[in-house]
Symmetry: C2
Subunit: 198 residues, 2 copies
DNA sequence: ACCTGAACACCGTTCAAGT
DNA sequence: ACCTGAACACCGTTCAAGT
């Protein structure tokens, strides 16, 4: 996890990990089954950081807390979203996660099928939002103005007027990703609430 | 693109592509700058398959058509969603795409900033939904009942009751992914419409 | 019980040498 | 103008041999 956080998930190789641990890559096979096992462990570690102690909360608050908690995990571990939704979700950690979320929704009055739907829609958005990040070359934690300026500079004079307008706007004023996330999350939660009453 | 569709994006290597073309990997460098260039081309090819001839349509219909068109591309090219949102979006094809979408939203009355927000929220969902696919080992195009049965079988007796309930439900009855997609898309579009009137 | 060296079958990329 | 062979610095994984 340290290696992934510091050097990026693409640097998590058996050989590099061995180097960090002062050991040859082949030695790792005494402790894990292979690279897949390693990535599964990494996924579970990230997943366990998402708050699913949601009891006693209104279902909307519970889903909101889960989403915010996921975003905190993504902030610490930028590789987490990609890993979580590219891998099998049949481990115990994944099942526990799925069970808690479905439990909240079903107890709130969603039918089994509707709860599955709501879960899929919510997670599509939560994980999808993270990956919509425009692979910032300056690293994360920026306010996006530098990137907006780059894009603006890359647009040929007079072409793509709407893209240029948006790039110009956010060259001057920072883009608030968290506000955008919560705006979209609110739309979905409100819609789900309306669908709950049929 | 043929190679990616038939053998998966992970099989798209310079060496394998050379093999298919009856040529050594090194020869490819006479035609493209490198693997990055190859993947950019692949992304643009996929992107150009998404319908953005949206003129004359109501903004909601336009966004719906775009979403449906994207899903058709994903059905043909399962690697497309992952490639598109993992790569730089500064090429001409990407800019054209972004410009058309923003144009529809801005002309519909969204402010520059609100249009950027709406775009991000929509694409997070559209691309995110695709990647939420539970890497089906049986290949795609299944109705999910086989997978639901596998998950059900993997759940220890008496544990994860809600997950078990959902898995049981969809062991018998197919899960309609497209319906779920459109349900979520509708929630977001309705929410955006409401936000348009403030 | 754990580590190592060596090997195998892979990667992307460069570059001098060929036609 | 294009292709090739050979090389370099990488991958994941296996396995006999060491301690």
């Amino acid at each position: 996890m340290e290696l992934a956080d510091e050097a990026g998930i693409e640097s998590v190789t058996m050989r590099e990990l061995g180097r960090r641990l002062g050991v040859k890559a082949a030695s790792l096979y005494n402790h894990i089954a292979g690279k897949d096992d390693l990535l599964d462990g990494l996924m579970n570690l990230a997943l366990s950081g998402i708050d699913i102690a949601l009891d006693g909360l209104d279902w909307k608050d519970a889903m909101r807390r889960r989403a915010v908690s996921a975003r905190e995990v993504f902030a610490r571990h930028p590789w987490a979203a990609g890993l979580i939704d590219s891998r099998d979700r049949r481990g115990r950690e994944s099942l526990a996660y799925v069970d808690r979320v479905l439990g909240v929704l079903i107890r709130a009055g969603f039918s089994t099928a509707d709860a599955a739907n709501a879960f899929l829609v919510l997670d599509s958005y939560i994980y999808g939002f993270e990956r919509q990040r425009p692979a910032a070359p300056e690293g994360n934690g920026t306010d996006g103005t530098g990137e907006a300026r780059e894009i603006l500079a890359a647009i040929p004079e007079g072409e793509y007027p709407f893209a240029a307008r948006v790039a110009a706007e956010f060259s001057g004023k920072p883009f608030d990703r968290e506000a955008a996330f919560e705006f979209g999350l609110g739309l979905i939660l409100d819609g789900l609430e309306r669908s709950l009453g049929h």
